[in-house]
């Protein structure tokens, strides 16, 4: 995946004719298929980049992108996302993780990126699926509350790692934080997240 854009770029397209999120969402609501094209033009590369940090295979990324547009088409309406960017980003992330998990579960060729495998290892050391007692909204709300309590820099490191799926070296390069410090932050904050989830009843020992 060598021609994807910077994962944290806000948009792909720069021409003034690009519609704003509200207009694109309105096209979705009007069941106008041009909505897909507008979304693709504006956020296609960004979403591809997020997927490419999870899945190594270009074909998989493209299939996930197709699935994402279908999912957006099927969910808008009734959804009316305030930020189409983050709505699509979350869709592509979930779809890509699903595919990575599928490959792992089926023992198929491991078409996940090295970075994502490392992330799985990191989180797998502290979190067992069977110990997560709450899913969905409560789990997310609890994670959000935890993140909200972090200093901005530490929160950015955690999000860049566990949401964007960036390699540690890349996080270091972006933030100017030394690699070892990034590792220390991730290790500590993951441990603190575990303790926080236990305290809030979203995870058991």
């Amino acid at each position: 995946m060598d021609d994807v854009t910077d994962v944290t770029d806000v948009t792909d397209a720069t021409d003034a004719a690009v519609k704003n999120d509200g207009e694109i969402v309105e096209h979705f609501w009007q069941r106008d298929e041009a909505a897909i094209e507008y979304a693709q033009r504006k956020y296609g590369k960004l979403c591809a980049s997020i997927s490419a940090h999870i899945l190594e295979n270009r074909g998989d990324v493209e299939e996930c992108l197709d699935d994402m547009y279908v999912a957006a088409w099927n969910t808008i309406p009734p959804q009316r996302p305030e930020s189409l960017k983050f709505y699509l980003c979350k869709l592509i992330r979930r779809i890509s993780i699903n595919r990575a998990v599928y490959y792992n579960a089926e023992k198929r060729d491991r078409r996940k990126t090295v970075s994502f495998e490392e992330i799985e290892e990191e989180t797998g050391k502290l979190f067992r699926d069977e110990s997560v007692t709450e899913d969905g909204g409560f789990l997310t709300d609890t994670i959000n509350a935890f993140l909200g309590g972090l200093p901005k820099g530490r929160r950015a490191v955690v999000v860049l790692r566990y949401w964007y799926g960036l390699p540690i070296a890349e996080i270091s390069g972006r933030t100017g934080i030394k690699v070892n410090t990034v590792k220390t932050i991730l290790s500590r904050e993951l441990g603190r997240l575990r303790a926080y989830l236990i305290e809030k009843g979203a995870y058991t020992e």
């Binding site: 989180t123 959000n144 949401w163 964007y164």
Partner: protein, 196 residues
Amino acid sequence: MSRILYGMNGISDEFISEAAEYRRHGSRGLYLRLAAAAACVLLTVSVAGALTVGRQPGSDRLPQTPASVIFPLGDTKTCRFGTIEYRAYDERTVTLGMKADYPGGTYWFQIEAYVPVGVDGADVYHFITPDHPMCGAEKWLTGMLRIYIDGEPSETVCLEGDGKMHEIVIDFGEVIDEGYLIGPVPIWAMECFYER
């Protein structure tokens, strides 16, 4: 594993956006380069005397006496909400005594201690004000500190207003290990604030 990563999927758009922009506007590296130029670090130590009522909505942040003072080792400063003793410092730590005088009260006060930073041996001392743009660095750096209250590790310096003197040890370990602060770390000044 995957359930946690799935759970992360729904995190706030604000956090996702903030992380994306962090390198451009708020990276610690940038702040620390600024810190090198300014050669200063702001350490914020908060002392809470309000457990039951806490910080009330619409609270004001008002400077209190002493507004800004040189705080020599061994000195004790008292403001209307409590007392601070500057007891010791060494290569890695600063030791303070703190007492919050309002038992269960609604007041909250904050001490801002300015410590000098030497970067690459350049021991330039400089004070910054609470509204200085550099203040963004403070949160990052305090996040790397280890703080102990009466020997117990604490995430924040938060004291009950029990009228008793407590020992606060601020361990600058990680900041020093990373070379962003060169010890020893004498505190030069403090300011008291409160919120009501």
